[in-house]
Subunit: 228 residues, 2 copies
Amino acid sequence: IIKIQDLKRDFTMGTETVHALRGVSFTIEEGEFVTIMGSSGSGKSTLLNILGCLDQPTSGSYELDGVSVKELNKNELATIRNEKIGFIFQSYNLLARTSAIENVELPLLYNSKVSTEERRERAIKALEMVGLAERLHHTPSQLSGGQQQRVAIARSLVNNPVMILADEATGNLDTRTSYEIMSLFQELNEKGITITFVTHEPDIATFSSRTIVLKDGNILKDYLNDDI
Amino acid sequence: IIKIQDLKRDFTMGTETVHALRGVSFTIEEGEFVTIMGSSGSGKSTLLNILGCLDQPTSGSYELDGVSVKELNKNELATIRNEKIGFIFQSYNLLARTSAIENVELPLLYNSKVSTEERRERAIKALEMVGLAERLHHTPSQLSGGQQQRVAIARSLVNNPVMILADEATGNLDTRTSYEIMSLFQELNEKGITITFVTHEPDIATFSSRTIVLKDGNILKDYLNDDI
Ligand SMILES: Nc1ncnc2c1ncn2[C@@H]1O[C@H](COP(=O)(O)OP(=O)(O)OP(=O)(O)O)[C@@H](O)[C@H]1O
Ligand SMILES: Nc1ncnc2c1ncn2[C@@H]1O[C@H](COP(=O)(O)OP(=O)(O)OP(=O)(O)O)[C@@H](O)[C@H]1O
Ligand SMILES: [Mg+2]
Ligand SMILES: [Mg+2]
């Protein structure tokens, strides 16, 4: 479902250039559950943003579900992001003045096939799945860090995406809550959803079937987790 | 240096009241290195915000360095926050339009005893200590999540505080970088700085000498780490 070939991404600021990705290649099959690890600054978020069609590479190719992403126009990219991909940002990107339930409903506002009642039901169900049934009407500043993170997770699920891209989705959660979220992701994966999960924590990586390790914008290792 | 007695903090939103802290009491001696753990929503940030003089309890007492914090006026609180306490926020609270070095210099702007040159030197040194010597002029959006977190850490150090309050300061860092940051905190602790560190990760807690566990706004356990 994902095929990247020699992906490069440079950030140029005046005279300085940061080579965030220096030629990354891999293929992810539909239904896989892959973990991406690597040290702070190794390029994980940059890679995930390209996979999520939020950013374009400087060079190299990205095929999503057989379609070359470079060929798509802005509207087609927006539709893919909204309907096919559930993205969980490292910094959540919640709307500050809206409640948890409204934040989670947001992706459904653009979906004309979903009625107002169904939108509310789906949002409530997603928040229940992450343990936030009692925080529906709190705004982000009225939520703990880990609760905000879980609102971001719930929001990524409401459009029934075929692929979830999660950037550190358990970074602010205690061990037990993290394991509950990872079990939820395993359940979604068993239903066929492809999951690409960035994490720093080795024991979180064990919930997936394969691990890709980045170092300074390159792939250091790419191995199946059963091999450990 | 810290003495809290029966601390309570309620958040009231309309008809709903959240009892974030339900009567918390402990004493932290000068020079201790304490870890606070607990599940998402158990009250850790609420507690830390009160200890950092950023929030007032609903009831109960807080003595900082022998002074009852309730008796202090706004200016005295601001001075304590700026000069005595280094606070690392769970969501960093960096200024979006300013570079890493300017963000780190910020607490020194209010310090009339520090010249412009010394301010710049201290900021550079703090950023070097967290491994960001090559990112001085990047703004937060030009930094990775873990790099932003480290800018927040560096900023907490520049005023040479007597006490550091860190809310999940390694949540977005890979294992090796986290251990480097924890060693840095151990070094600062050996110089006499009192450290109170909120974390979810048990192996990060082992860098401290004592662990306090919160559950639903109450203290569940309070033990010395050598006892484990
Ligand atoms: N301003 C607020 N208004 C209403 N409720 C709040 C507010 N701030 C926090 N809460 C609630 O108080 C409880 C404790 O929040 P707190 O941020 O202290 O948790 P925490 O232990 O830091 O969690 P985490 O590990 O997820 O960061 C949570 O259930 C949260 O929803
Ligand atoms: N917009 C930008 N402009 C300049 N440099 C950038 C920009 N975005 C990222 N970088 C740099 O590119 C490198 C990779 O960043 P990226 O966010 O992908 O790292 P990461 O692996 O996600 O790190 P972390 O684990 O800390 O979140 C970092 O060194 C960062 O400073
Ligand atoms: Mg990142
Ligand atoms: Mg918190």
